[in-house]
Symmetry: C2
Subunit: 163 residues, 2 copies
């Protein structure tokens, strides 16, 4: 996972987390662009790339994929993707993964990241998952402290190969 | 991910990787039990727990989930789970995750782990994924060297919370 977070106080009362709708898609892609150091990685449109719209439809069609947005004052201020994965170990209990966590650079420190993560943890628990896991770039030490405060432990190395 | 691997020479010519069928299920659960230090984590049966059979059916019904087995001399010697995840970042390119990698303790060092991982990398590439990622317990330094040899880089911290 990549993420842009920072240390955050408790979320403000008016903020809420909900599942995304298609109307949120351009704003979500705008937020995801903040994850990248490479400006050309995302294509914001309009129009959005057709591959992006197709991916959104696949995500919405799969009950194990939950695309979350944090909303405050009528505006989407953050997003996260939650994935529930059917699994054979642990006597067939599923596990959960969070990916693509981002809070708008202008809205950090207001607790929206915590609100998104706590929502994901609650959904994972309710789905019977034995764990919720995520990876965070080794350079993002602020994010590591944030996850630690929420009860996450850095037990694993996160490996990747890119294509 | 958890895994039990070790340094391995090139795989033997007679070995192959294929998608699992229901007949492989008891053997796969037996292998997964080797991942755990806690003997009571899995229930080997017979009969296997109903939750396990249900998870298998969900995995088989989802074209984005590929349960792999390595076979040698007519016997299943290893397994890995590959997951292709529809994704909004990277212009809507999916990513892939490998989990539950295990080679039988009595069959290590014969290259089956490499065979499984190379198969997963090839499927991820063919599905258009921008990355294949996995996590490995920080204590499994042998596995880390193994992943490094296959081209994986430990760029991320792997966080988890357990329920």
């Amino acid at each position: 996972m990549s993420e842009e977070l920072s240390s955050e106080p408790p979320p403000s009362a008016e903020a809420q987390v909900r599942h995304a709708t298609e109307a949120d898609l351009p704003r979500i892609v705008e937020l995801l662009a903040q994850l990248s150091l490479d400006e050309s990685r995302e294509e914001l449109g309009p129009p959005l790339p057709e591959t992006c719209r197709r991916a959104f439809q696949q995500i919405q069609a799969d009950p194990n994929q939950r695309l979350l947005v944090a909303e405050a004052g009528g505006r989407v201020v953050g997003t996260a993707s939650l994935l529930i994965v059917p699994n054979l170990s642990h006597r067939g209990r599923p596990y959960a993964i969070v990916e693509n966590v981002v809070v708008d650079a202008t809205e950090r420190g207001a607790g929206y990241g915590e609100l998104l993560l706590r929502y994901a943890m609650e959904e994972a628990r309710r789905a019977g998952c034995y764990k919720l896991s995520l990876t965070s770039n080794k350079r993002r030490t602020d994010a590591h402290r944030f996850y630690g405060r929420l009860g996450f432990q850095a037990t694993h190395e996160g490996f990747r190969v890119e294509f």
